[in-house]
Symmetry: C2
Subunit: 293 residues, 2 copies
């Protein structure tokens, strides 16, 4: 199961309705932040997400509306007494940026590592990335669950498996319930295809994105502009809603969620309409919207 929390869905200048871009992706208790715009930690508090559970931050590029929440978040984690390592991935050049971020952040009391985006095998998931086109170094990310055995609810119920025990068994560890040892094979069987989520960050429309998002359960793509501003989209290396929908269609994605909405488009209904003309299962994200797959 993957849960998505759209913590901030606005572009450029924040508005009453939309903060800057952050999407929290929760998977088996771990939280991954896709970008980290200003206001991330407050939005996490409001959404009831624990900051301490953030294990990786995946930045698409270094424009402030996508990373300005980083410094205050990592300082807060230090205040909260974090000891676990925190990894921050980003586009080419992140190590250079880290040289300036680190003195501003100061001592954290935990390991804070900045890395160029690469393939990460997390055991039950894989993170990948591709370069995108936004005028400065930028990248997109995909998060894929690995194929995993089905959890047999009926068997588990009969054996009295709940809560933490369930999680341990899903992770392949045996548990003791009373005097009995329950083994993973007692409650797991068959195969379940993993889910795939792809996040574009800011980018001009790219053929490589369609390939990267092939078969995605959810493609989260930016539509910074509508049909009315196609020229500006090209000039500033952004996508229109129609172009984003074209990518979703070419990728054979199951669902398109549009985020990074300019304050120019108040309710963004026109963006949704333009996207739907190309790809039916398109929707505009809203701040604090949650999606579970």
């Amino acid at each position: 199961m993957i849960e998505l929390f759209f913590l901030g869905t606005g572009a450029s200048i924040p508005s009453n309705e939309r903060g800057h871009t952050t999407i929290a992706l929760r998977h088996t208790g771990e939280i991954f932040l896709l970008d980290c715009g200003e206001g991330t930690q407050r939005a996490m508090v409001i959404a009831g997400l624990s900051m301490m559970k953030v294990s990786k931050i995946l930045l698409t590029h270094f424009h402030a509306d996508h990373y300005a929440g980083l410094i205050p978040l990592v300082q807060s984690l230090s205040l909260l007494g974090r000891r676990a390592k925190l990894e921050v991935y980003g586009p080419k050049g992140i190590k250079e940026m880290a040289k300036h971020l680190k003195p501003l952040i100061g001592d954290t009391g935990y390991e804070l590592e900045f890395k160029e985006a690469r393939k990460v095998d997390g055991g039950n998931y894989i993170i990948s990335s591709i370069r995108t086109s936004h005028g400065i170094p930028a990248c997109a990310y995909s998060f894929e669950e690995k194929t995993h055995p089905l959890f047999l609810e009926d068997k588990a119920k009969k054996l009295g498996v709940f809560g933490l025990d369930r999680k341990q068994l899903q992770e392949g560890k045996s548990v003791k319930i009373g005097n009995r040892t329950i083994r993973p094979k007692d409650v797991l069987g068959g195969k379940k295809e993993g889910k795939k989520v792809v996040y574009s960050g800011d980018t001009a429309p790219l053929k490589s994105m369609a390939k990267f998002a092939k078969g995605a359960d959810i493609l989260i793509h930016e539509p910074t502009f509508g049909d009315d501003k196609e020229k500006e989209a090209k000039e500033y290396k952004h996508s229109t809603a129609r172009q984003a929908a074209g990518i979703a269609k070419a990728a054979g994605a199951k669902r398109l969620i549009l985020t990074h909405i300019s304050p120019r488009y108040k309710k963004a209904e026109e963006l949704e309409k333009q996207a739907k003309e190309v790809f039916e299962d398109s929707e505009i994200s809203k701040d604090l919207m949650t999606v579970t797959i």
Copy 2:
């Protein structure tokens, strides 16, 4: 007239109710930001304050809950096409911090100058600062209107002076209304004492603060802790509500506004009570509260 907008009134970790510390001070059309915590630009949008009117940012120290709104704010001003210079004042060491902030901010298209806090004569106001005690370089600020002539409402009304003309005359410039030249002396007379606002930033209680805030119309002081955590206040170089009230009393201030409220104190009623026991005119600030003097 000085208007204060408490844009963020929380300490350490933001909460549903309180964002990080920023106070906007508006005076004759100019906006001065006292600190610039995460969420400043969104709070300005919600409060209906124009970011383009910000002329100076006065940072008390470089903990993220007091400055993390800076990078995204200055980038937004660039997006909005600002051309006017922006001055950022701060404690000793700000020039060193600027070396790291500037590459993260990138090109702004306007002059962005970082300066150590000092006396600034702005024509009709004076900004001063003193060093405070918070474990890292930190300072407090005072904003004082200069004594200025009274605006004679009756005379102005008879002469048909309104709006922009009024402002020009108050600034000592003659204006033309129809064929007539109205001179400042036609509508100004007597003397009006200027108002004084002092903002502590984060600090242990200081005798020098009482001197600095002498006769202030408003002292804005932090009470990060209550009586229950006096030991922690001392350890982390913060003040309790009672200590802040003691400073207000010793300064002979007219009014004490407490800001930088820890999420530990939900409604902060206990902090207000403790402060009032020492200094009657004490109150707790709330996000988006405005005060005019």
